[in-house]
Structures are given as C-alpha cells and as structure tokens.
C-alpha cells in the first residue's frame, strides 16, 4: 500500500483559495441552472448566439495546458541533486507550451467577447447573458492571472530556481492552473451545450 501524502501539493494557502473559488463558481453555476428553469425558451434561444466551436477549442486548450503543467511539475519533482539544470530546462519547455495555451485561450475568448459585445449584448440584455458574461468574464480573469503565475514560474525555471527538495512554488502555481481548468470543464457543457 502506498503511503498517502498528509497535505495536498503546493502551499496550503492556495488550497484555501481553491476551495473558496470552487464555492463561488459553484454558486454561479447553480444560479444559472436554476434561473434557466424560469425561462427555458429564453435560455435556449440566447444560447444559439454563442459559438460552441470556440467553447470546444478553449476546452481542448485548457486540458492540454493542464497536461503540460503536470509534465513541468513532474520534471521538477523527479529531479535528483545532480540533475537540477536538466529538470529546470525540461520544466521551462513544458511551461512555455502551457503559457502559449493560456494566451491562445485569452485570444479566442477576446474574439468571442468582441462578437457578443459587438452585437449590442451586455449584462442587462437578459438573464442568460447576465450569467454568461459574469461566468466567462470572471473565469477569463482567472485564466489571465493563471497565465501570469505560469510565467513567473517559467522565469524561475530559467534561472534554475527549483532545486532538489524545493519545488513548492511550482506545485502551488500548478494547482491554481488546474483549478482554472476544472472550472471550465463544468462551465463549457453547462453554458454552451446543455439545452
């Protein structure tokens, strides 16, 4: 039997933040789901104005970026005392891919917002778009923060900042990024697909 770790990976404070974020988004998800019951036709009609394809591509981008981040963390946590340089180099490569994914997500989302806002839609248009804008804009801000965090970690790997036994920072940033991915995994089918 494998001995379980006592605490989750990374700094414990990030897990408090993650739990709070999950509850906040969870309430918004449920607000959307139960508000939909009051006017199913309006929600279904409004949903047709969204691009399911960009939602799908963004989901693929986020799960792929999460995979890259796990590979980066693995490179660092599996290093030996003598392989710090190689481990940091490998991790920086994976992180660069993940940051690229974050930027691609942001670009696609901005394009989507441009079309939505360009069509004269705003928070007051109707209840569907109020939830859509609140959920996706709030999530968008998390992607931007997450991408910045990945960049900070990337910079540290470039200076071989992670050494044998000292990798809490990369685990902390990675946990935050996976939370951003987890939230989108629920958001995509709920807002873009289910009708």
């Amino acid at each position: 039997m494998t001995l379980k770790e006592k605490y989750p990976p990374g700094d414990f404070a990030i897990w408090i933040i993650i739990y709070v974020e999950l509850i906040t988004f969870g309430l918004l998800f449920l607000g959307y789901a139960f508000s939909r019951r009051a006017d199913v036709a309006l929600f279904n009609e409004s949903q047709l104005l969204l691009s399911q394809t960009s939602g799908f591509i963004n989901t693929l981008i986020l799960i792929t970026s999460s995979y890259f981040v796990v590979k980066a963390v693995q490179s660092i946590t599996s290093m030996s005392e003598k392989s710090a340089e190689e481990a940091n180099s490998k991790a920086s490569k994976w992180l660069l891919y993940a940051i690229g994914c974050g930027i691609a997500f942001i670009f696609i989302k901005i394009t989507e917002f441009y079309h939505i806002f360009g069509a004269g839609i705003n928070l007051s248009t109707n209840k569907f778009f109020m939830f859509y804008i609140m959920l996706t804009a709030f999530h968008f801000m998390h992607v931007m923060l997450g991408s910045f965090i990945l960049y900070v970690i990337y910079k540290k790997t470039k200076t071989e900042g992670y050494t044998f036994g000292d990798y809490r920072g990369i685990e902390t940033g990675a946990s935050y990024w996976h939370m951003v991915d987890l939230l989108w995994i629920v958001l995509f089918p709920l807002v873009y697909i289910i009708r």
Binding site: K4, Y7, P8, F34, L60, Y67, P189, I193
Partner: protein, 84 residues
C-alpha cells in the same frame, strides 16, 4: 504505467469532443444531458485526481473537490430534470 498522463489527456479530449458533437449535431435530449453530466463528472474527477495530484493525498483534502463536483453535477441535474 509510463504513459498514463497521455491516456488521461486522451480521455479528456475524447469526452470533450463527444460533448461538442452532441451540441453541434443538435442531438441534445434529456437522455444525452444525463450522459453529458456524467462525462463532465468523469472529466472533473480525472483533473482532480491526476492533474491536481490529489489521488495520493489524505482523504480529507482529496474529498473536498470531489464532493464539490458531485454536488454541482447532482444539483444541475435536479435543476434540469425537476418538473417545472
């Protein structure tokens, strides 16, 4: 298993494609919504367990995101299936 992360990514990508096709082909029905919610739970669990790395962590911390995900999926199902 050496390639287990790649397999998890492949499962996540396949389930995402499945969800997209349901929407794209406009074959969303009450039956498929149940399947879609179940696959969302599977995807979320895979991220929690294998990407967040909680599969190897003390149950009291591991269970919190899983309970959150279960509660969200169940309550979305209630909102969807409860007669209006």
């Amino acid at each position: 298993m050496k390639k287990y992360l790649e397999i998890i990514w492949l499962i996540l990508a396949s389930l995402t494609l499945f969800a997209y096709l349901l929407g794209y082909l406009k074959i969303i029905s009450t039956f498929f919504v149940a399947i879609l919610l179940f696959t969302t739970f599977v995807k979320g669990s895979l991220v929690i367990e294998h990407f967040m790395g909680l599969y190897n962590v003390n149950l009291k911390y591991r269970i919190i995101p899983t309970l959150w995900l279960s509660a969200i999926i169940v309550l979305i199902s209630v909102a969807y299936y409860l007669p209006i």
